[in-house]
Amino acid sequence: MENQEKGKINKVSVICAKGNLEDVYAALVLANGAVMDGKEAKLFFTFFGLDAVIKKRMNKLQTATVGNPALRMPNGARMPKLLGMIPGVQKMVSNMMKKQMDELDVPPVDEFLDMITAGGGEVYACQLAVDMFKVGKDDLSEHVSGILTVGEFYEKAAGEGAQIIFT
């Protein structure tokens, strides 16, 4: 009842423009959460976010260990800045995060896209980013149902109770 008074969200379109592990997962969780709730969901990957739908890269996303002041060690202390620069540290930290997420039933990117599309969510890539990074259609995950211009994206995002979220 309360929802109806406030105006209900019926549809969410999530734009993911960054290829960091956490930015991609924020977009995936938001879209999947919408699908789980019976809402329409569209995911639009652009710029570096495109990595999330490039087959060879999608499951190898990393979180930045340089320039990420919120990053902490397992004991809760801040991660020393120089440590983040050592080769292999970023990969190790990213793998630890993936392991933690898996324990909470947050799947790898390809499986997450499986879940979202199984529930009726739709995944799109950005035309400009595809051209810019010279990505071929074959490089993209089979979850991608189209490559859109920004105008086409807005058409898809339209509707009553529709929201656009940028991560």
């Binding site: 969780v29 959460g33 709730d37 039933d105 799947p107 009726g120």
Partner: protein, 103 residues
């Protein structure tokens, strides 16, 4: 908390219609809640409901992914069985609390 008569039995439910005590659940109650949600329960539905009740009793965090890996159905099948919010609807029909997971 509200009182509700389900399948001839007086039960306590939350404001959103989830059973307060999952021990009060039975198949007739499930059928009646399902009907309110516009779902007619078949064998596969009941297998999912049993799975969710067992996992809930084990204290597991229930997610769509777990149901997808249960061997009963895949995620697409789960969405087909309980359209428009499978985990929430199935939990309600299974007589267990509203799921708190984000996945």
């Amino acid at each position: 908390m509200a009182q509700k008569t389900l399948a001839g039995k007086n039960v306590e439910v939350t404001d959103e219609g989830y059973l307060h005590d999952f021990n009060e659940w039975n198949e007739d109650i499930a059928k009646e809640i399902a009907q309110e949600e516009g779902i007619e329960l078949g064998d596969e539905h009941f297998q999912v409901l049993t799975f969710l009740r067992e996992k809930y009793q084990e204290g597991a965090n229930l997610t769509i992914r777990k149901v997808g890996k249960s061997g009963i159905t895949d995620i697409k099948g789960f969405y087909n069985l309980f359209p428009g919010g499978p985990l929430k609807k199935a939990s309600k029909i299974a007589g267990i609390p509203k799921p708190t997971s984000c996945v």
